[in-house]
């Protein structure tokens, strides 16, 4: 049997979910025999490939780049998994939505001007620094998502539980201690 083509992406999140993925320890070795990691922050591939079976998506949808790659991922992937609370709920990155529609200017001003010690200026470089979206959303508000893996971050055991079910061709179902936010 062909190995399952798996991708992982990192949108607006802290990389904690990916750290937790690396925390799978020896299961990573087992996984390596069963999957082919075709795209990931830990793999040096620049372009998201075609015909991906499963993609784990960390992070909320915060900027134009996030949105663009997400549409590409949806078009090229069979099964999307919202990986961690930021992807599932918007979590901490979405807190800026509470500041209303002009939150983008406000937070950039706060971070890069009011709190700057040297060279206070809002970074602007078209084509290099992606523009922030007015509203941060969970992944499923932007594209349809098959499965959800909450947790901040989801502990390695929970990732293992979901991956085992997905690899076994089953519809994953998280229950008991494996279903938890935060």
């Amino acid at each position: 049997m062909d190995r399952l083509k798996v991708a992982t992406v990192w949108l607006g999140g802290c990389a904690g979910c990916h750290m937790s993925f690396l925390d799978l320890d020896e299961f990573l070795i087992e996984l390596a025999g069963k999957i082919e990691l075709v795209y990931s922050p830990v793999v040096d591939v620049k372009e998201y490939p075609e015909n991906v079976d499963v993609c784990l998506i960390e992070g909320a949808v915060c900027n134009e780049d996030n949105l663009e790659i997400l549409h590409k991922i949806r078009a090229r992937t069979k099964v999307l998994v919202s990986f961690g609370d930021c992807a599932v709920t918007g979590n901490v990155p979405a807190l800026r939505n509470k500041l209303g529609l002009h939150n983008v200017e406000n937070i950039l001003q706060r971070a890069y001007v009011e709190n700057a010690q040297n060279n206070p200026a809002i970074p602007k470089a078209d084509g290099i620094v992606p523009r922030l979206l007015e509203r941060v959303t969970p992944v499923h508000e932007a594209v349809s998502v098959e499965y959800f893996l909450p947790g901040c971050p989801p502990p390695a055991d929970r990732i293992k539980a979901l991956m085992t079910q997905v690899l076994g061709g089953k519809e994953p179902k998280l229950e008991g201690a494996n279903l938890k936010f935060g």
Binding site: T89, V92, A94, L95, N97, P138, P150, L179, F181, G182
Partner: protein
């Protein structure tokens, strides 16, 4: 008092007139999920989690405020009810900003626990992100309106167990919120006795002891239960 006979999930039971569906169900070991219900204070039917099906009535009725009647036929856990309960939970999460990862009550929250037991792995509705404040003007306690589900437990214990009457609900619909006295900062309330019973009663991370950080706020119900037990049964058992 006269006894009434009714059927809950196919089992015939009898109970005293005047009892609520929730009381009778629990007395017979049938669990109905609740959120605004709190032993020792009257019920208000605010959260709608305890909805049950009553044969012959098209509407779903809250178990906590519905009195039993003769020949009543109840369903407490149908597929339809499960669907509505999950929907209710999702709406509660969408209505304010529950960011469990940075919540004082993460891991000790009744809203979370119910979400898990109802299989809520995501919220299908768009989050509202309303602009609510955190009131930390009180010497001992804080209130984060972002995590309030308007169950009014705090209001009921404040009025009917402590007898202070500090807390109230102001406004309607999505703008409803918990206030102190004449809508002033908690720290400036003249009537608050600093008893902390509201904090004990809160099901979520909305009311907390100052100084508690993520996952530290456990709402200790022992003191409330002690008072209610003493009041209702005249037993002073610690």
């Amino acid at each position: 008092m006269a006894a009434k006979t009714l059927t809950i999930d196919g089992t015939q039971v009898s109970a005293e007139e005047g009892a609520t569906v929730l009381q009778v169900a629990r007395d017979h070991g049938i669990e109905i999920p609740t959120l605004c219900h709190l032993e020792g204070v009257y019920d208000v039917g605010a959260c709608r989690l305890c909805l049950v099906e009553v044969a012959g009535i098209a509407k779903l009725l809250p178990a906590c405020t519905t009195k039993i009647s003769e020949g009543m036929e109840l369903k407490t856990n149908s597929e339809r009810l499960q669907k509505y309960r999950r929907m209710t939970l999702e709406l509660l999460f969408a209505e304010r900003s529950h960011v469990c990862a940075v919540c004082v009550s993460n891991g000790h929250c009744e809203l979370q626990t119910l979400a898990y037991s109802h299989g809520m792995e995501h919220v299908r509705y768009d989050y509202c992100f309303p602009k609510w404040k955190v009131d930390v003007t009180h010497r001992l306690f804080g209130m984060d309106h972002n995590r309030c589900i308007l169950c009014a437990r705090c209001v009921r214990v404040c009025w009917h167990i402590e007898g202070a009457g500090t807390k109230n609900v102001s406004g309607r619909g999505a703008s409803a919120n918990i206030i102190n006295d004449l809508n002033q900062p908690w720290g400036q309330s003249d009537s608050c006795t600093e008893c902390g019973k509201c904090v004990m009663s809160c099901p979520t991370g909305a009311l907390f002891h100052k100084g508690s950080t993520v996952a530290e706020m456990v709402h200790d119900r022992d003191k409330l239960e002690f008072i209610v037990n003493a009041r209702e049964k005249k037993q002073w058992i610690v």
